[in-house]
Symmetry: C2
């Protein structure tokens, strides 16, 4: 008998007779209010991954966090809005008590081998084994589900509000315990970065991601080759403006292949 | 009597009794197949902008191009999926003959003044008046609706297939004829960049944007201050992989304020 990993337990969905999926928030991925958004995004994607009408693999996903999920069950509705010969467009909604808590869209496709190139190269960084494990006692439970080794721009230890002039963070990361990478876990990994406004100007202002987009450059073979190895994550904001900032990020595997590029816009208060 | 600009004519929508909006493709923005996607994105946003239930201004928009629009009428459905105290989540669909040709989501919000900073600074470039107007005869009609002054990485003139090692383009641009900037025109301007795969490796391979996300950092006051001035656009790909590449972009006004950051994923064939 094997025991499912906390991540597999968290994203598990039960297909319902009406075509929807039933899920449940996971205490293992608890956040300040509601669950870690990366797992909610993975759950939304998982409804498409498990859907009997699915064609191909994820290329793009956008999720919008409409409200904090309450601890408990939720329903995922995933509808194929358009199916072409080799591509498919999905509309997704997560509901609690009949109200939308997440809206989203996904684009899936069949890939063909073409001329390819990674233009955004992995920056030169020390190997994961040469970077120490983050030791800060986490404020929230979900952080314990990831191994994080900060190369640059760790979570501030002095919340002195001094403008750092830059919001970039680089870290090695993977699931804890280690788990073979798939599209669902890659989606959650795309959201592990702590909010850039805390990095740029260390003040613990309230924040919340409102929209997140993930572009999957990896195919199944690259995921399999990456296995449970580390990913290098890099993230930086482009603008902080009157209540909202954006945050871009890249995830490479140890071989230096760019697996994901992702973007989000985050609410902040002060 | 005044005549509406081609852009205003293109994005005009008629509210219908059932709450949907009726639009029509515009020959002035014709592309290789169907209309310029930037105008279709602007039309989708415009349904929310004109909606009687709208709260605040656009912060994030994602549109997915599910099929090339046929020349003719289309219907835009815009539904407020969730309205919070100061934010609102929209689900959008554009249909022709009852079939989805575009799916999308939008996030609107009321802004409050907070600590703000532009982290991605405008690169040093010559002033618009010092950069010559692109003179290439355009292959498609919509290109005539924009004034483009390439600083770096213009459309290739030799399609020799040589890998350039970089896909970056920088250009000054604005509507032609000039038109005061608003959220709709800013949305279209976020999509004017020619496909990065042609820049990186000049081969005229078939391409098509499949998903595009726009983050609006500008508020109404900044749009008004920008008026009909030039925007500096910068765009670059991060990865080209087996049929799909991504493309990130920034738009600054002449004062150097970052108005928009945007991302798209594009299909390419070879």
């Amino acid at each position: 008998m094997t025991t499912a990993s906390p991540f597999d337990q968290a994203i598990a969905l039960q297909p319902q007779a009406d075509g929807s999926f039933l899920g449940h928030t996971s205490a293992a991925y608890g956040n300040m209010v509601g669950p870690f958004g990366g797992v909610t995004a993975a759950q939304a994607l998982n409804a498409v991954l498990q859907h009997p009408q699915r064609l191909g693999d994820p290329i793009a996903l956008t999720v919008n966090f409409a409200a904090a999920l309450a601890d408990g069950p939720f329903t995922v509705l995933a509808r194929p809005a358009r199916t072409n010969r080799s591509t498919q467009h999905w509309v997704i909604e997560v509901q609690q008590q009949g109200e939308a808590v997440l809206t989203g869209t996904a684009f899936f496709g069949l890939r063909r081998e073409t001329w390819s190139a990674d233009e955004h190269a992995m920056p030169p960084v020390p190997a994961p084994s040469a970077v120490s494990l983050a030791q800060n006692p986490p404020r929230v439970e979900w952080v314990r589900r990831y191994e994080m080794r900060f190369v640059e721009g760790a979570i501030p230890t002095e919340w002195d509000g001094k403008d750092q002039g830059i919001s970039r963070t680089r870290l090695w990361l993977r699931d804890a315990p280690p788990r073979p990478l798939d599209f669902a876990s890659l989606t959650a990994l795309a959201d592990v970065f702590f909010p850039r406004v805390w990095r740029r100007r260390p003040v613990l202002v309230p924040i919340g991601t409102v929209s997140m987009t993930v572009y999957y450059h990896a195919d199944q073979a690259q995921l399999a080759a990456t296995g449970s190895g580390y990913l290098l994550g890099q993230t930086q904001a482009q603008a902080f403006r009157n209540g909202f900032f954006d945050q871009t990020a890249q995830l490479w595997n140890e071989a230096g292949e760019l697996l994901v590029t992702t973007h989000q816009v985050v609410y902040y208060k002060e």
